[in-house]
Symmetry: C2
Subunit: 239 residues, 2 copies
Amino acid sequence: MLNNLERIKIEKPVDKIIEQLRSLIISGDLKPGDKLPPERKLAERMGVGRLQVRDAIRKLEFYGIVKTLPQSGTIVAGLGISALEGLITDVLKIEQSDFKSLVETRVILEKQSAYFAALRRTDEDIVEMSNALEAYQANINSGMNAVEEDLLFHLKIAEASKNSVLKSLMMIITPDIVNSFISLEVCDDRNIEKPLDEHRRILQCIINQDAEAAADAMQEHLQDVLDYSNQVDLTKSKK
Amino acid sequence: MLNNLERIKIEKPVDKIIEQLRSLIISGDLKPGDKLPPERKLAERMGVGRLQVRDAIRKLEFYGIVKTLPQSGTIVAGLGISALEGLITDVLKIEQSDFKSLVETRVILEKQSAYFAALRRTDEDIVEMSNALEAYQANINSGMNAVEEDLLFHLKIAEASKNSVLKSLMMIITPDIVNSFISLEVCDDRNIEKPLDEHRRILQCIINQDAEAAADAMQEHLQDVLDYSNQVDLTKSKK
DNA sequence: GACCAGCATTTGGTTAACCAAAATAAAGGT
DNA sequence: ACCTTTATTTTGGTTAACCAAATGCTGGTC
């Protein structure tokens, strides 16, 4: 309904600064490893406040593009110029991920997560996953919204996979998943029993340490969403 | 050599603030959707400067946990409390990812990336990937370090996969990969021809639109690193 | 009584001044 | 001539004051 309003182009000032930093680096004389101009100089040259430059550097540092040493300076990290060129532009666009890519990637991560969880789960992991599943079931039975508990169950699987990066990436895309689901109104109240059964089946495969079956069960569980995302993509392409 | 020095526990103040915010949210009365205390109150209550609270909120906002509206307040985003509990703790630890998880996850992403690239690549993508491969080859032939060009080739494959999220995630973990490689000195100068051949083979599979073969070629290409990461993991567990 | 204009307060955003650590330059001693 | 030591400048980090927009309140008007 308010999707039309979302298109207000908010060119946040920090993004413009990042863009200028990008051209500064690409234009040449900033090899990886040597330090870029101090914050004051950058602020002055770009005609903006120093705090905004600071924020831009923070964001770049968060992505590992630069490394700032206190009271010493900010250096560009090991990643090279050629890679940076494509990198920074997409850092800016990382939020506007399209729904299809989002779901597609989620399926990949979840499948592997279930696969590794089946191989590596401990007894404690089983308890955690079972508890999450029960909370999910309880909310469904009382007719409440169970989106949180649904995600919590998937998160517990990721924990059982013993792969911290896999779990972190899943958590990174999870908020986008939720937002997309809400805005697209996918979470309608039909099919309240089916996902519950699928969750139970996934858990059973993990308990049995059958990795292939767990991955398949997860694939099937997410297949509906995947199909839906393809439909959405088709309808959106008409716009 | 300086790995011993890396263990200096730097409990950055902003992380402590995030931790306190977490307990604030979990402790109860902050339902998702309503706004948390203003920055000044938080700074006063925690006994820290306001700018640090500000940075913590920025970081949380970046992860989509909260949403800050200018001149109005900061609200916690849609994601629920139960999910947040596990989420924020790992946001703090997202940087210290262990090498094995890093490589393992990279293999997953790269395999799928090659798979989709084979299915969806355009003629323009082929040109881009070929150029990256040539640049890689040129640097190798002249005896220079080709890490950047190596990654650039993989990045072009991700672009050809037409999955923006997949590409973004790969770019998120790439800096960590590079840092780990450097600190562990994996990139020794032996085997300079083998990866080049593997790159060519991967590209050929993608051009042929043979998705399975492309994924297998990528798997084989990264198998050495994967094996090495398992060794490292074993040696590190002795420490 | 409902509604709206206008004022005061709240709140995130911004600026400028200041601080301490680090790097650099300079001086002095060997 | 070289190294050590010290003083100065540079640099990121921090604090406090200020700004503009947004919210809530108040009083008046219809």
